[in-house]
Amino acid sequence: MINTLIGDIGHASVIVAFIAAIVSSYAYFMASRTSVEVSGDTSWRKLARGAFYVHGLAVISIIFCLFNIIYEHRYEYYYAWSHSSNHLPVYYMISCFWEGQEGSFLLWIFWHVLLGVALINFGKKNKVWEAPVMAMFSFVQLFLTSMILGVVIGDFKLGSSPFILMRDFMTDAPVFKMDPNFIPKDGTGLNPLLQNYWMVIHPPTLFLGFAATLVPFAFAMAGLWKGRLTEWVKPALPWSHFAAVVLGIGTVMGAYWAYETLNFGGYWNWDPVENAVYIPWLVLVGAVHTMVVYRRSKHGLRASYVLVIASFLLILYATFLTRSGILGNASVHSFTDLGLSGQLFAYLAVFAVLAITLLVYNWRKIPATEKELSTYNGEFWAFVGSAVLCLAAFQVLATTSIPVYNSFLGFIGIESNAALPADQIAHYTKFQLWAGVGIALLSGIAQLLWWRKGDKNSFIDAITIPAMLTLLLSSLIIIVSNKFDVFNFKLDNPAYIVLLVTSLFAIFSNLSITLGLISKKVTLSGGAVSHIGVAMMLIGILFSSGYSTIISQNTSGMLYSREFPDEINRDNVLLWRNSPTQMGKYDVSYRGQFFEVKGVPGYINKEILFRTADEYQAIARADIKVGDKAYYTTGDTLEILSPENTYYEVEYKEREGDNTFLLYPRAQLNENMGGLLASPDLQHFADKDLYTHVSGVAPEEKEWGELKEYEVSAGDTIILNDYVAVFNGIEVINKVPGVELNPGDVAVQADMKLLGEKKSYHAHPVLMIKDQMMGRFPETIEDLGLRITFLNIDTENNRFKIGVNSTQKDWIILKAMEKPFVNILWIGTIIMSIGFVMAIIRRSQEGETNKSVTPKPKKARKVQAA
């Protein structure tokens, strides 16, 4: 029966949330008026607060309803049908929740609610900010809830509701004309690439980062609006740190997911969807720097305004880019276009106009210091660093927006056919690499100057040791990599050398600062620690991307065409099953297809699983053991975790040395998603990752050769397809997997032994007589490309007839590459985050104590460097 109640509750909650957001923003607006503030009248504020809490409860109710629809498999709802399926485990149901646009909007709304509640309650001491800041919050919520409102007035559709029923979504589907109460039995499932644990935590983190950028923005807007042009920086500063670190972690999580799950051979593809988060993050980090500079020296307030506002508007722009469908051909993984582009554009435009108007109107009033910063001021170089960050962001923005230019020019009637650069990596690298150099260099210099007296001599004192260590270590790395065979790359590219040297300099100089500060007050060194992290990330990116080497070069010498023999990299190798192929320093062999079985660690060979009509169930044809522990015995029914995921066992064996390991790259044959979706498997070493994925598999439907018949008796030896086979005899069996034997039915199996290249195989083709009918279960030995059928028994002469088909052996096409020192990138990310958290603690303590404006730089300046 169709359950319309839950959807109605959900939809009603959306409407309540929307109206409460209107009430709350209006009431907070009224509460923010100077006359109300002066009179001490709190009634508007009470109303506004109440409305915001009602809004929050309504949002939680929406989330509950939507999750219930997914969790209970209510496929009468389009959202459940299109994003989930019966076999999905609970943790992936959570990812279903935000696979769709509506759910991800909901996630974003939810974080705003939590942050809003936090601001209302934590800011108790300083009530002046609540009303204007929360007015901004509620106003944003008004726009966001309108996206999932799903209200149609005449031809005008406002928002897209996640609670739409199948029959209302597919009004043309004939099945609903026949039976309006039809409920599909199963959903179409979650995009298999998203069935990954990172997809459970990456989107919430990213959207928390999105949501957190609203806080500094709301403070900046409140400052402009209420004329508190300087005071907003202090309460906003820990929040902007928070937003920067969460957005940074969220982005890297997404990169790691891509590295692990997608097969473009890395963690960053310069896809517009990735860029759309990278751009605001860079600007936000720039804003953090100018705000810190302002807190210390009263310089850079205007820049802080501009960057805080820009980072929020860029988040909205990112939302517009990825959700409006404007990217079209340019992105492989943007959201489905829900026809919200008008609303998204309005959201962006309203806040852009509002923020820019307020800023321009107040520009002259924003205090700016006329005094120049000297070259020996850390603030000066931090400021330059922000400029570099913004330029880096601008460069990515300029290119990512190419599809927008096309649309815009098309809109005003000019035809434009500009496309993204053909070689995006080269295009972005030629700027981003130098931005990295600039950031590394400046972070070292600025930090050294920041914590020292601002004069030449003490700076030279401070820089000497880090500079010496840098030169020492970088020359060592350069010499070792070029002259000795320690790494599998030669560091001889001048640009890469510059990046390495500057990054090492950043590490050593920030390390010397950290060591100096750590005995004074740990949280003071947050900046230095996060700069060490950033420099490590740069080094990790430099080696893992700059020196990523493909080891699956086609060395067979067999080439289809020699039209362009020298220029083309032939990066994929075909591996026949069980035939080792040389690849780099390894002998690589493909060893078979595997499944994941519920409750059993690792992977189980398909050959010992007898598939049943239910594709999620199989019967064990042998005992399943891992180590000493037996999980299933022959004949047990077991559950396959995901029948569309096949794991291809690939063995790597070092030719010199005994090191052997197995990798299981995955491929999904999925009709809905269009063919083969390959995910890599990684072997982690201390100094590199070995990254392997299949780029093609043999067709599942095999072409079998003609049936060849053999008459044998027990003990005979025959040659099948060049393999020696021994026919040991037959035995009567009581159980046939997947078949119920009744009294009077007989089943016998042949016992054959085949000698393969590496091991011997047992084949047990079954012949049975059930209900007077002959039934045969052939046995396929994939490794040998043989299918053996037990055809008949001649009981009088004790001779048996078997039939053999042979086929081409199974194969896969493999691509493998080495990514040197990719670990440094991930470790650097963690260190950067730790540094940010230290800075958040420090900045929020400052906010509470409310004492000195300049945070104890005098003490710190005495600190000796390393």
Partner: protein, 141 residues
């Protein structure tokens, strides 16, 4: 001159360089005819071409060749661009698995010796992310 002014000028200068480079690096969507003209002029820049696979009247794809057993890194096909111009394309990579199902193909590359050498293929498939097809479910009615 104040230091902040110098920095401002530098920032603007770099921004201009960025815009110029972006304009220079941006590729364009062209037809095969134009790709051939470019190659004849000695212009080896890579372009985007949008087209469809060549099909016979029965709807079977023609002119496609991929034999992984001989060479897994060699895939050729015939693409018909929007001007109905047919061009043989070589892709030195395995064949994308859902290739036959694609409605539209976008390739990036350039003309070399009468063939278009593609180094990137982007497929536009019907209902890749949007599933509006309820057929498989109705079968269970």
């Amino acid at each position: 001159m104040k230091k902040s002014h110098i920095i401002g000028i530098l920032v603007i200068a770099v921004a201009i360089v960025i815009i110029m480079t972006t304009a220079g690096d941006a590729s364009t969507y062209v037809s095969f005819g134009e790709a051939i003209e470019r190659a004849q002029e000695g212009n080896a820049t890579k372009v985007h071409v949008v087209g469809r696979l060549k099909k016979d009247p029965q709807g079977h794809i023609v002119g496609m060749n991929y034999n992984p057993v001989v060479d897994p890194n060699y895939f050729t096909f015939t693409l018909v661009d929007t001007n109905r111009f047919e061009q043989r394309v070589i892709y030195y990579n395995p064949k994308p698995q859902d290739f036959e199902r694609s409605e539209q193909v976008v390739i990036t590359g350039n003309m070399q010796n009468d063939v278009f050498v593609a180094d990137k293929i982007l497929l536009k498939c019907p209902s890749k992310y949007v599933e509006k097809d309820i057929q498989q479910n109705t079968a269970s009615l």
